[in-house]
Amino acid sequence: MENFEFHGPSTLDQALAAMGAAEDGKFMAGGQSLLPVMKLELAAPSDVISLAGIEALRGIEADGTTVTIGSAVTHAEVHESEAVRQAIPALADMAGGIGDPQVRNRGTIGGAVAHADPAADYPAALVGLGATVVTDRREISAEDFFQGMFDTPLEDDEIITAVRFPVPERAAYAKFANQASGYAIAGVMVASGDAGIRVAVTGAGSCVFRVTAMEEALAADFSAAALQGIAVDSGDLISEPDASAEYRAHLVSVMARRAVEACG
């Protein structure tokens, strides 16, 4: 790892000022993606600006129709939050399945969303639930936010402050994890509510995506049986030694059915 300047601001303004002064600065949330990349010397920022001490980025609020989660809230906190569990149990369950306890105690929703790893779980949750990403300067719908592999519309000096989820009528997340890494090979969030019926898939492709054919079938008949015979095109999916595109396509169908079943 190369040397860098570390900053621990306690306000957004301080964080933005530090970024403005840095030659090649990088915000760090929980550091669970940034630090491994820096250890491998695939990234070598001049300045690392931690967002962990900014009180304004913390806290979970739920009002019956929306759940707003501060960007510095950890996966473990989301998993254990009674407010989240009451409003969107699928989200609490999903957060409890990210990585391992160490990762969940350090990693944050804001960091995971900003990183936009195509195999991370949160992209499926955000797109599937129709969430909105709130930054220090604007609001971006989840579908506009995840543009590709590690690709988002965030400016270099833009900070996610919160993620706002509409409370669905029902939702469930089913994940098939890579046995080594724990990342999703196929993770499917199914939800129905004010945001419509959504089927969002992470891990299988280079970016989270919705499966319109499944959504339409579920709109007509919200049951696992309604998904029978509907498959995604493996040509659009990732192929790796442990999980070919064909297998991923199959798993998307299986996980989607299991998520629908879990919706009850």
Partner: protein, 785 residues
């Protein structure tokens, strides 16, 4: 006093320091003025070294020296030696190309060390290593063992045409062919035994230190056998005589075989410390471990079993291609031959066996012993064949095994080994009970109702441990003896220090060996310390591998204890004014037969060091050393049962039960034995279901991190059931056999036999390891298409 002798479940003495973070690992050691070494490793699998430019690295901050292969060659540094040569079957020697410490002219695997950068801090050494400019001219590479013997395969060594290191054969080919010709049934199997990466929790590390005034070198290293490293490195690589070279292997955090071998980094830090007259430290990063620790397994085997109408085995015929990697590692040639092919009788009376093994060079990390070392491969081949035979003949998998079991001991196999003792049927009975074998079918049906395929699998196996009778090992190509050394030093006030040539890196020797002393001398483990891992303190030793520590190292301690007691009797006889022949020793008391006279072991020890009134002609002191050379291997045996449930929609195999019944010989500490069994079973599950080292067609390591190399986790296991059916080894003084590897040897075959059983209704005969989800899903898809 609580009984802390043989058979007591004494809590491990060493655990207090391990569990409280007070262990002393090599990387915890820092020597005054210590420098840091970082290696530049080849990113190419196979390439000519066109040019190495070290100028920028040499000029970088803090850099003290930059060394290449040319520097070592100019200084007369030798190649890394092989400690066990395997001849071709025609008697000609194997191809033995020089394994340079730093690459000479060509690199042969990803991770091959090319340049050593030494600086004042590790960060400086790392930064400077990034400035070394190496120009590689890639040439075609081959990583796959089957591909390496194709006629158009890239050639890795001029000395090894066709990439063949040796063509080994054992057994009577004519007799085997004749038996096959007359057999009622023949079953065949083509299998791959998957390549594994060891992954000890403590990465390898080494510190070299040269003391200019005495001319002595000290090497601190993560080793299972410091005396062997002293011998190999001192005599063959650096030409340092033993009395000027001390090797210390302090606390070592797991090894599983991967720390037996002499590695380049050990020689580099030692040599560089002499050149620079300052200590030099190297600690592997985890990514270096993946590409520089010797890997395990990696066989391709064709096997055939001939049977008569009744299901009796008539003959076994096999051919194996064994991947040796790019260079011959310390014991690389011995593992697929004398630790593999000679095990092919297993538990069975198969009268004739023919095994051919070709050792093959590839552009991969060297392959050597990994927990089980040859015996898991032998067991997997044999136990898969037996299951296939049972299905073909319509026999139960239990009955076909029982019918063919060896029942009379000693038993001479057709492949060199003579088993001394065992009770395979009795051990199988224990396993069948543990694994609830007989009422399995109701569980299968219950699972089917839930949409799952459930299967149960069995493996029965023997292993050869306790290496080895030195004369026999020498005839088979070993270039060292394989005895062990134990020294028992009784101090004047009666406490004891044991010095052992075995090395503990997780096995619990500090407790189990102390228990042997407690049993013999009647004391508590608190009064006994066990010293190991230091050539400066332990007289000699061959180290710990192949489940040999208790059988060979423990026996040496027992022999030394017998000498202590014999001398003690002389002293006690004098003290009690009795004839030596009338003195008996038990429970820490010397007594005179037929009298009430007695004296304690402590009083005798004190008298030995304060010999004011002492037997004439007897040396003072109570300190005895024994060199123990076993007369045979030991033969632990077991029966393991696995039960799995497969989700046909995803191909996920869930291990729902795992039972192991083993005959490990006499048990010193049942808690340690259970722990050893659990650890081995976990690694067996890893091989069967999770772990696969993969290279691509260009020789790039695809599984170079935990992102894609699947280590077993706690959630991969059910609670294990363990049991025993003990027979004693007949030829060592403790009656012990060995337990370190049983799980890794027996479990892979049991798990895969269960997977195949779960899929047998689809016509599936074999599944190669690891049985990963997509592989199993595809097998189901193909079978149901």
């Amino acid at each position: 006093m609580a009984n802390e002798g043989i058979g007591a479940a004494v809590r491990r003495k060493e655990d207090a320091r391990f569990l409280t973070g007070r262990a002393n690992y090599t990387d915890d050691i820092n020597r005054p003025g210590q420098l840091y070494m970082v290696l530049v490793r080849s990113p190419e699998a196979h390439a000519e070294l066109v040019r190495i430019d070290t100028a920028a690295a040499e000029a970088a901050d803090g850099v003290v020296a930059v060394f290449t292969g040319a520097d070592l060659e100019a200084d007369g540094v030798g190649g890394i030696p092989c400690a066990w040569a395997v001849d071709h079957e025609d008697g000609t020697p194997m191809a033995e190309p020089v394994h340079p410490v730093l690459a000479q002219g060509r690199v042969r695997h990803v991770g091959d060390p090319v340049v050593a950068v030494i600086a004042e801090t590790k960060a400086q050494a790392r930064a400077a290593a990034g400035l070394v400019d190496v120009e590689y001219q890639p040439v075609p590479a081959i990583a796959d063992v089957a591909g390496a013997v194709e006629s158009d395969a890239p050639q890795i060594w001029d000395e090894a045409p066709g990439n063949i290191c040796f063509k080994f054969g054992i057994g009577d080919a004519e007799a085997v062919d004749a038996a096959f010709d007359g057999a009622a049934h023949v079953v065949t199997l083509d299998l791959v035994n998957n390549r594994l990466i060891p992954n000890a929790i403590e990465p390898r590390a080494a510190i070299g230190e040269f003391e200019p005034t005495s001319g002595e070198y000290t090497l601190y290293t993560t080793s299972q056998n410091p005396h062997v490293i002293r011998l190999l490195m001192g005599a063959f690589v650096l030409h340092i005589p033993e009395h000027k070279l001390r090797v210390i292997a302090p606390d070592v955090g797991g090894a599983f075989g991967s720390k037996i071998f002499h590695y380049a980094e050990e020689a580099l830090v030692t040599w560089a410390s002499g050149k620079l007259a300052l200590p030099v430290k190297w600690t592997a990063e985890r990514s270096e471990s993946f590409m520089s620790d010797a890997h395990g397994r990696d066989h391709v085997t064709h096997a055939e079993l001939a049977l008569d109408d009744e299901g009796m085995f008539l003959a076994l015929r096999t051919k194996t291609l064994a991947n040796l990697g790019a260079y011959i590692s310390t014991f690389g040639p011995a593992v697929p031959t004398y630790m593999h092919a000679v095990l092919f009788a297993g538990c069975y009376t198969t009268p004739v066996i023919r095994a051919v093994v070709h050792g093959v060079f590839t552009n991969t990390v060297p392959v050597d012993a990994y927990r089980g070392a040859g015996r898991p491969e032998a067991t997997f081949m044999l136990e898969r064949l037996v299951d296939i035979a049972a299905r073909k003949l319509g026999m139960s998998r239990v009955e076909i095994r029982r019918k063919n079991f060896i029942k009379d001991f000693p038993y001479q196999t057709p492949v060199a080994l003579e088993y001394d003792s065992g009770d395979y049927g009795g051990t199988l009975d224990v396993a069948l009970e543990l694994g609830s074998w007989n009422d399995f079918e109701t569980r299968r049906e219950e699972a089917r109702a839930r949409g799952k395929f459930r299967g149960i699998g069995l493996s029965t196996f023997i292993e050869a441990c306790g290496a080895a009778p030195s004369a026999l090992a020498g005839q088979l190509g070993a270039r060292a003896g394989l005895f062990e050394v134990g020294q028992v030093r009784v101090h004047p006030t009666g406490s004891v220090t044991v010095f052992t040539g075995s090395h503990s890196h997780g096995q619990g020797h500090e407790t189990a060996f102390a228990q042997i002393v407690c049993e013999a001398l009647g004391m508590s483990v608190d009064q006994v310390d066990v010293v190991h891992g230091d050539t400066g303190r332990v007289p000699f030793g061959m180290g710990t591998y192949g489940s040999r520590s208790l059988a060979v190292g423990g026996s040496a301690i027992q022999k030394a204890l017998e000498k202590i007691i014999a001398k003690g009797k002389k002293i006690a006889a004098h003290m009690m004014e009795a004839s030596e022949g009338d003195v008996e020793f038990a429970d820490g008391q010397f007594t005179v037969v037929g009298t009430d006279k007695s004296t304690t072991f402590g009083e005798v020890a004190l008298t030995a060091y304060v010999p004011h009134d002492y037997p004439e002609g007897l040396e003072p002191g109570l300190d005895e050393t024994a060199f123990y050379d076993p007369v045979n291997f030991t033969y632990p045996a077991g029966a393991h049962i696995a039960e799995v449930e497969i989700d046909p929609e995803t191909g996920v195999v869930e291990l729902v039960a795992l039972s192991a019944a083993d005959d490990v010989g006499r048990i010193i500490n049942p808690m340690i034995v259970e722990g050893q069994m659990h650890g081995g079973m976990a690694q067996g599950v890893g091989q069967a279901l999770l772990e696969a080292c993969r290279y691509d067609d260009d020789g790039q390591l695809l599984t170079g991190s935990y992102m894609n190399y699947t280590m077993p986790r706690a959630t991969n296991f059910p609670f294990f059931a363990t049991g025993h059916n003990i027979t004693h080894c007949t030829h060592n003084p403790l009656g012990v056999k060995g337990v370190g590897e049983v799980g890794a040897i027996g479990v892979p075959a049991a798990v895969i036999n269960a997977v195949v059983d779960a899929l047998a209704h689809l016509g599936v005969e074999h599944v190669d390891m690891p049985a990963t989800p997509e592989k199993v899903w595809r097998i189901i898809q193909d079978a149901t298409a």
